[in-house]
Assembly symmetry: C2
Homo-oligomer: 219 residues x 2
DNA sequence: TAAAATATTTAAGTATGCTTAAATTTTAAA
DNA sequence: TTTAAAATTTAAGCATACTTAAATATTTTA
């Protein structure tokens, strides 16, 4: 299947399962930087290939086949991120950009070899779980998004979900990396901001950030 | 530039510089599994982009720009082959097939990281030289393919380019190993066969073999 | 060197994956 | 609840990278 198709089903999966956002064509279009018309067009085409269910004006819903394709692409993406992070001195943002291209040009065989070389990792460098060969995510995710974390509790950063370079630069500068220990000082519910302590520094983060930083309870 | 364009200029370079074969559209078409018409079409298009010089019914000639693009793609191909060979237990044939896809989705940055990780290798697993960052091949490869070797001359085997077990078994049995001294007795140009002497034995090899055995002059 | 074979080119057409513009439907607001 | 705004869909069109078929040029061979 083509790169356009793979990216289309991947985006539906990400919006639907991962972000619980609307999967109507316009939303897909925004993510893929194409027009709404193009997204509608593609949706109708893919429904004939049994990759998704399309009803006019309704959100797009992946079929089992479509979800399998999405998870296969996501698996390859996360394996590439893991490998590049392991081998090379590159920023998470750069690694993400490379993986975004490589994921579509990778045989199942190569994906398996990458996985084996890395010792079949369960998570990529962002903390996102890597689907197995059958497209199944076997890990149970107990993480909470920072914007919903409990005041006064201590957590460990488990995932940084973004493809924005400035975000990663900011995180790196301020010690917001996977595994870092942080304390939620205060949730300002009216302004949607969160005050945290990380590495003895106090930071005030707005929701753009606290919605994409995931935490696990500190034990 | 698109995958189709990259493969087009790469093929011209390979036919012209590496194999000294004809670069008329039909030959390119055969390598790329497209029709002659498509190749002619592409040739005219790429000439307007200053990647090659196209004159009707004449062989295609890469411009400096086109050659640079070709060498950049070849660099990435050979770096990928080197990395995959280094990391994974995969046949040279499989590695080649993966590299054929990955070469078009690799930033210059990533190519440089791969090169650095491997200690800036000068040759890939096939023995082919890897162009440097500027597209320059700094090693001087003086080897000739056996099918084009000169009758009556004596050579030394420098490379056996295959991933076929039976080929290697045959070579081993008959003393065709790296460094072995051989004499080219006769090139049968009509039947595309070559008669050689190696370790006092006479062998008659067909082009399947003589196209993948490389020789250096014996001094 | 003329005819036959082969290659190249031109022309017309197709699938993919987009675009813009206009029509339609849904959603949100007054 | 009617209207305005926003989103979706339809329609027409475009670029890329091919295809087939026919015309033309080149090469080979007899």
């Amino acid at each position: 299947m083509s790169v356009a198709v793979e990216n289309f089903v991947k985006t539906i999966y990400q919006l639907d399962v991962l972000h619980h956002e609307d999967t109507k064509p316009g939303n897909i279009a925004k993510k893929l930087n194409i027009t709404n018309a193009a997204a509608t067009d593609m949706a109708r085409k893919l429904s004939t290939k049994d990759l998704l269910i399309y009803e006019k004006y309704k959100p797009l819903k992946l079929t089992a086949l479509g979800e399998k394709m999405a998870l296969n692409v996501i698996r390859k993406h996360r394996l590439w991120e893991s490998l590049l992070f392991n081998l090379f001195d590159m920023s998470l943002h750069d690694i993400h950009r490379e993986a975004e291209l490589l994921e579509h040009q990778t045989s199942d065989l190569l994906a398996n070899r990458i996985s084996a070389y890395l010792g079949h990792p369960k998570f990529d460098p962002h903390g996102d779980p890597i689907p197995n060969e059958d497209g199944v995510i076997t890990t149970t995710d107990t993480s909470v998004v920072m914007s919903k974390a409990i005041e006064g509790s201590t957590y460990v950063i488990s995932r940084l979900v973004s493809d924005n370079k400035e975000f990663f630069d900011f995180c790196l500068e301020n010690g917001l990396i996977n595994g870092a220990e942080i304390e939620i000082n205060k949730q300002f519910s009216t302004s949607n901001m969160t005050q945290i302590t990380v590495a003895k520094n106090t930071l005030l983060l707005n929701q753009d950030f606290t919605d994409i930083i995931y935490l696990n309870e500190f034990n």
